[in-house]
């Protein structure tokens, strides 16, 4: 594996290796000295064309915990705001000797272009591109699900402590909300499918993309029925991405209150879920819109833990992309 661009092209054994490596990385993060010398002397560039706090900080923390040098590059206040193209930015990074580029871009496919256009020879990690993919978020979600549901016996195969080595066969995950604009939903659908979990997308018809019937998952317009009849093991609430709704929220649903009534997770809906189920949210949350404060702060919510797991998963991704031999003979067999 040279790049991490999409969860759709991750094989099952690659995904499980990533999650298992993340588990070992997480174990090192409870030590007094959290820093590992593994990527000493390597340079990781955080190339962010879109606002982000948690993903950038998470990648920065992960790279620093592995002793890599981190350069942060955000489009605002940089050469990009003066009109520099992606290609010229990439050539600049190449000239500076970046070993890995973590890229977030508003255009779907920008990380793919960066990885395959021949501008750079660095490993490219997609940190979210447009409405396409956000692989590390999906990996940290899968890691969190595996950690929590590893022992409940609801059909999940046990691998060992924290579910190391296990896949997600038999786990039911409901992904609720703004699927149309969500790269997190897309990344999760394919990764969870690869790992053997069943996924149901729950959203108003206006917030489901055209062609969703070709995705490897079920869809529903009715949250109450899905929670009551299907009894999901994990419920993933998506943020309503108002910044991507050009006409304001009104363009996709009549009113925020109506959205909350039909698709918001509150204490009443939480009570319908099985006792072992967990509540997830990729953040940042719109409290009161897609998730109520009671649901977000309940002991079923693993939202803060998702953030902590994000560092471990990103450490694993950086390790697996950067540590292997760079000779062409072994490239591609690295993961």
């Amino acid at each position: 594996m040279k790049h991490l661009l999409s969860t759709a092209d991750l094989a099952k054994d690659e995904a499980i290796e990533l999650l298992d490596t993340a588990a070992q990385m997480a174990a090192t993060q409870s030590r007094e000295i959290k820093k590992l010398p593994t990527l000493r002397g390597r340079t990781v560039v955080n190339l962010f064309f879109e606002d982000s706090t948690r993903t950038r900080i998470s990648f920065e923390t992960a790279a620093k915990r592995l002793s890599a040098d981190v350069i942060n590059f955000s489009a605002k206040g940089s050469s990009v705001s003066k009109g520099e193209s992606l290609k010229d930015t990439a050539l600049t990074l190449h000239a500076m000797g970046a070993d890995a580029v973590v890229v977030r871009h508003w255009a779907s496919g920008a990380p793919y272009q960066l990885a395959h256009a021949g501008w750079l020879d660095a490993a490219v990690l997609n940190a979210g591109d447009g409405t396409h993919m956000h692989p590390t978020q999906a990996l940290l979600d899968a890691y969190t699900i595996r950690r929590h549901l590893g022992g409940h016996g609801g059909g999940l195969r046990r691998g060992g402590d924290d579910g190391v080595g296990a896949d997600l066969v038999g786990v039911k995950v409901a992904i609720v909300g703004d699927v149309l604009h969500s790269r997190v939903a897309r990344a999760n659908v394919w990764l969870l499918r690869t790992l053997g979990a069943e996924v149901t997308l729950v959203a108003p018809p206006t917030l489901l993309p055209i062609g969703v019937e070709a995705w490897p998952c079920r869809t529903s317009y009715d949250l109450d029925a899905t929670l009551a009849d299907w009894q999901p093991d994990a419920v993933m609430m998506l943020r309503v991405q108002r910044e991507r709704m050009s006409g304001g929220a009104g363009a996709f649903f009549p009113s925020p209150l109506e959205y909350t009534r039909y698709f918001g997770l509150d204490a009443r809906r939480l009570a319908v879920l099985p006792a072992h189920s967990i509540v997830m949210h990729p953040g940042p949350m719109n409290r009161g819109l897609e998730i109520s404060a009671e649901a977000a702060d309940s002991d079923r919510a693993v939202i803060v833990e998702q953030v902590a797991n994000g560092v471990a998963v990103r450490m694993a991704a950086l390790y697996l992309l950067l540590s292997g031999s760079t000779t062409p003979a072994t490239e591609g067999t690295a993961l």
């Binding site: 290796e17 070992q24 990385m25 174990a27 030590r31 390790y319 540590s323 292997g324 031999s325 993961l335």
Partner: protein
């Protein structure tokens, strides 16, 4: 850490494909018993001794040493004083090798602070694994002393590291490959050399095939 190459020239008739057995099961057992006694003698008892095995064979060897230590000195508890130390993320050859999977590091609950820590590995070769292990220990705590036990010392050190407890000194050529087989992992106990140059003298008293 053992780099094997193809056997040059005509095959040595002694060399069956699995190689030459230099230590048999009883030799391995005797060597481990002796090492256990040496550890207790050196530490003047076993109350502060902690064994850390280096994956993968080192972990198995450490577990066997722990049983022997417990039978010599009941102050040693194999449940409490045994751990494993994965050194992958401290290696200096990560960029030269295909990506390695990161293993488990499991320390005794009481930690390693102030203990006499004995690292256990199967084959001591360049010393680079031990260098990585010393760095890893430095990040985990400050033991009172760190000692090194290995079943086979095959020479060719690239760093100023030497073992405190050795099962068997085995002079080898750089091109040869030394493998420690253990019943728990491989189904049998043996130390095997393969890739030996034709006509080389086989050292040691181990049974040859």
């Amino acid at each position: 850490m053992t780099a094997g190459t193809g056997m040059p020239g005509t095959p040595d008739p002694r060399d069956v494909p699995e190689g030459t057995v230099v230590l048999g099961a009883s030799d391995v057992a005797r060597a481990l018993t002796r090492i256990a006694h040496e550890i207790v003698e050196r530490a003047k008892g076993a109350q502060d001794v902690v064994l850390l095995g280096i994956p993968t064979r080192g972990v198995t060897l450490a577990a066997r040493l722990a049983q022997r230590l417990a039978s010599i000195d009941p102050a040693f508890d194999p449940e409490r004083d045994l751990g494993e130390l994965d050194v992958t993320m401290y290696r200096d050859d990560l960029r030269r090798q295909p990506t390695r999977a990161v293993g488990v590091t499991r320390l005794p609950a009481a930690g390693i602070e102030g203990k006499t820590l004995v690292l256990v590995d199967d084959v001591l070769f360049s010393g680079r694994t031990i260098r990585a292990a010393l760095d890893a220990i430095g990040d985990l705590g400050r033991p009172q002393a760190v000692r090194l036990a290995c079943l086979v010392d095959r020479g060719h050190r690239e760093l100023p590291i030497r073992p405190d407890f050795v099962g068997k000194n085995l002079p080898t050529a750089q091109s040869e490959r030394v493998r420690v087989l253990l019943a728990e992992v491989d189904g049998t106990d043996a130390v095997v050399i393969s890739g030996r140059e034709p006509g080389a003298v086989v050292p040691g008293e181990g049974g040859e095939r």
